[in-house]
């Protein structure tokens, strides 16, 4: 069933991930074709398009978001920009000292890996409240409503405890000096 852009925005604001599914299927061929035509592989094209959809998801959830074009046009522009950045990153990587870059990338990857492990060790409700707050930018009222918590203060307390727990987990794996090296 075809959905209007306004309907899709409303669904995204309500946190319905099925709206993303619809946009993905609807625009997949057009976006992937654009990247394939610009020296991208199909896997790269998929990644870029998925990233663009996530950017759109985050933008659409913010209260001051106003769509000034069709969603497909917006997505196309985001895909173009992301792909341009990716090409720049590749070019810079080739031009730079590969050994230094690889070393820095390796350290960064190790740190990110530990952070991800620690996040995944949190309970599901902690993961949810942290992602709602830091990724989706939801207000405490909305988080409380979505998670069935008593009120925004309860949500705020829970979010604080979960973040503290995560910090402790990460610090226990890595000392400050590790990060400073």
């Amino acid at each position: 069933m075809r959905q209007s852009d306004a309907d899709i925005i409303l669904q995204i604001k309500a946190g319905k991930e099925s709206a993303l599914d619809y946009l993905y299927k609807k625009n997949y061929r057009m976006m992937v074709s654009m990247i394939l035509r610009n020296n991208g592989s199909e896997q790269e094209a998929k990644d870029i398009f998925q990233d663009a959809l996530i950017v759109f998801w985050q933008k659409a959830k913010s209260e001051d978001f106003k769509l000034s074009s069709k969603i497909s046009t917006y997505l196309f522009s985001v895909c173009q920009n992301l792909w341009r950045k990716e090409l720049d990153r590749k070019r810079k990587f080739e031009e730079s000292d590969k050994e230094d870059s690889e070393e820095n990338t390796f350290e960064q990857q190790e740190m990110i890996k530990i952070i991800h492990q620690c996040i995944n060790e949190l309970g599901e409700s902690c993961k949810q409240i942290l992602t709602y707050h830091y990724f989706d930018g939801m207000s405490m009222d909305k988080i409380a409503e979505k998670m069935g918590l008593a009120n925004s203060d309860t949500a705020k307390t829970k979010r604080y405890k979960c973040k503290k727990r995560l910090d402790e987990l990460i610090r226990s794996r890595y000392t400050a000096s590790d990060f400073l090296d």
């Binding site: 599914d21 959809l53 992602t131």
Partner: protein, 298 residues
Amino acid sequence: MSETNYFRLIEAYFDGSIDPLQKAMLESKIQTDPLLKAEFDLQNNIIEGIADVRKQQLKLRLSAIDVNGSGSLLLGSGVKWLTASLSVAVIFSIWLYWYTNTPQSVNAIQLQNEDLLVWNETSYPPIPTAVKKDLFSQNADTKQKQEITFSERIGQPKSIEEEIKEEAKTAKVKPQALITFQDNNLFSPTSDKDFTKTVERDINRSMVSETKIEFLEPVEDKDQYHYKYFNNKLYLFGDFNNEPYEILELHNKGKKQLFLSYQQTIYKIESDKTNITPLLKVTDEMLILELNMILNEE
């Protein structure tokens, strides 16, 4: 401001609750305090990590979507339109081919034959049946011309039923047009009875015989007649002076069968008898009746 307060500022920074003045102070401090910068980078990585986890969740969800046959609706509808257009074009081409190859009119076919028969069938286009071989099988002895004219009906192709009707109609006309001898065994019957059966169907006669006849003395008994036949000449042995005789010669496709009528009796003469052979009477009553009818017509 104490160190702890700076840590709280970092937290406020990532919450988005920090005011511009505090933000400027924090950024300035980070430039000079490596420990604070490390804490800031750690918190930045943690927040990015949380976002990455959520992104990975969404990307996993999207990757699970089957995109085969999907795409932009514009492209999808374009393919559908293209498919539909091609289908219509193919159907139209088939129809056009069929229509242009269906004969709208067929020039009259002039068939010269030995019977003069004019058959104007304007409402049927029976090309296949018109050229049927059996239609032209006819008595070689019949010196007639046949003119058959077919006119193709203009318009729609014939249905199977129509063709069957045409076939039936053609079959009815055929015996009226010509007398045929389709059975090659007609002139080689094994018995009078068999012969009668075939003659019953189609028979033609000609009293104009090219067979030469020569009369000879009886071979044995005076009352017994004999014959021999070769080189298109009939030799009759016996006394044939009492009454007139008649020879019936029936032809089909170059073959002929002779009968001798003498003194109210009909004899059968076989054409391959080079030795003197007794004349045998035709005993089949039906055949005798048929042959007498022919004789009486004359």
